[in-house]
């Protein structure tokens, strides 16, 4: 589903991504973890073209992304994204947040878009909040709206960039539950997250990144129980200590 070949990216002289290679199959759930500043967030954003790349190529479905490719409409239709800070549109109601891209990008009729939005919002447990504005919802509720908004375009891949990092601890699970059920329904998912419980329980594979490199890829259980690289061992020792 996603092929990443020799991807590098620079900020000026600083290399954020160093010759990254990987391949993600349809229906697979991949968690990307690593210390902060390791390039995880930049890496996931290259997969829908929010970050440009300086060399290499990324193939998502039938779309080939390479340096200089600018018409990303097809890519954006294939890939949905959920952000750390939700990024709901604050001036629109919950329902409008989920319908706007359907009507403007996919040119669905209003009734069809609203029906789709209602069913997705029901799926994430927010049917009671359709007419509210984002600021009237809790962080966890906002993030679930954001997931519904991305799903409304029927993406084949969902990217999650630290979806629970901005949440109060008691709201983390409601978002992870939605992500887990999405994974069980066979969605191809790439998640940058520090939720190691989710990684171990739901992910098929873990990519460990450090200093812009994919240092280690392993299936989730193997990664946590027997990390191969020293850097992964050091990272796991730090985050799993308590």
């Amino acid at each position: 589903m996603i092929e990443i070949r020799n991807v590098s990216k620079f900020y000026g002289a600083f290399q954020v991504l160093k010759n990254c290679n990987s391949s993600i199959a349809r229906g697979e759930v991949v968690v990307i973890c690593g210390p902060s500043g390791s390039g995880k967030s930049t890496f996931i954003k290259t997969m829908n073209g929010l970050e440009t790349i300086d060399s290499g190529e990324i193939v998502v479905g039938n779309f080939r992304l390479a340096p200089g490719v600018t018409n990303l409409a097809t890519l954006r239709r294939t890939v949905g994204m959920v952000f750390q800070n939700f990024e709901l549109f604050p001036h629109l109601t919950v329902l409008s947040n989920v319908t706007i891209a359907q009507t403007k990008v996919l040119r669905r009729g209003k009734a069809e878009a609203e029906e789709k939005a209602r069913s997705l919002l029901a799926r994430v447990g927010l049917s009671a909040h359709l007419t509210k504005h984002p600021a009237q919802l809790s962080g966890g509720q906002q993030q679930r709206v954001a997931i519904a908004r991305a799903l409304a375009l029927d993406p084949e891949v969902m990217l999650f960039d630290e979806p629970t990092s901005a949440l109060d601890p008691e709201m983390v699970n409601e978002v992870l539950d939605v992500m887990t059920s999405l994974a069980k329904q066979g969605m191809t998912m790439v998640c940058v997250t520090h939720e190691m419980g989710f990684a171990r329980g739901v992910a098929n594979r873990v990519f460990f990144m450090d200093s812009g490199e994919i240092v280690e890829t392993a299936n989730a259980a193997a990664f946590f129980d027997h990390p191969k690289s020293e850097r992964a061992k050091a990272f796991l020792a730090k985050i799993l200590k308590h």
Partner: protein, 228 residues
């Protein structure tokens, strides 16, 4: 000296004609200024160097010269320019009202552009990313997502600028247009009733501007997105 209220009563309809023109200039200036100004703001933020260079130069030029000079330019030079471009050989007369409308739109757009640009910059980068990630076109992003937020974030400043615009309309007296102040001046000079006329128009400007600024205050309290 005796204040003559009868003079005021007989002058009232003419003053209202003047006020009507003042309000027309304000409405055209605000509407045209915000539309053209928003385009300038988007152009200034554009990655296209030519576009942003033009918009920046335009805004800086307009903000560096007095409004009264722009009124003169448009009034005296545009007829020549039109005559020259259309090979008339002679200046082509442009009505005072049209001159004034065009001037105010061109001039105020520069100020509105800076306000709207500040509005766009107050929106987090994540909102731009969200628009992109959803595949919204630039046009749709600006119309449905970014512009409404930008305007909302700077609404009090926009209204304050509008109050300034309303007062600046009085400058059109230099080309003998009959706005509120122009009407008052004409009657004051005809009837020798300077005190009555200038006190009255002063009161009218004050009431309108004060009411508008109170409205701005009220709005500032209501502009949050309904946080709980």
């Amino acid at each position: 000296m005796r204040v003559d209220l009868a003079a005021l009563v007989s002058a009232w309809p003419f003053l209202m004609t003047g006020l009507w023109f003042t309000l027309q200039i304000t409405v055209v200036g605000v509407a045209g200024g915000i539309i053209f100004g928003s385009l300038l703001a988007v152009a200034r933020l554009s990655r296209n160097r030519l576009l942003s260079g033009f918009a920046t130069a335009y805004v800086n030029l307009m903000r560096s010269i007095p409004l009264i000079l722009v009124i003169f330019w448009v009034f005296f030079l545009v007829p020549w320019a039109i005559g020259w471009f259309t090979n008339h050989g002679r200046p082509v007369a442009v009505g005072a009202s049209l001159t004034i409308f065009v001037t105010f739109v061109l001039f105020e757009a520069a100020y509105y552009a800076e306000i709207v640009r500040a509005g766009f910059r107050s929106i987090s980068a994540g909102q731009y990313s969200a628009c992109e990630a959803l595949g919204l076109s630039k046009f749709h992003s600006y119309i449905y997502i970014l512009f409404p937020q930008a305007i909302r974030n700077v609404l009090p400043i926009l209204l304050t600028q509008t109050i300034i615009l309303f007062q600046d309309t009085s400058l059109v007296y230099v080309i003998s247009a009959t706005d509120l102040l122009g009407a008052a001046t004409k009657i004051a000079q005809r009837d020798g009733r300077l005190v009555e006329m200038y006190l009255t128009v002063g009161a009218i400007y004050f009431i309108i501007c004060y009411a508008a600024s109170q409205l701005v205050k009220q709005l500032q309290g209501r502009l949050s997105y309904g946080a709980r």
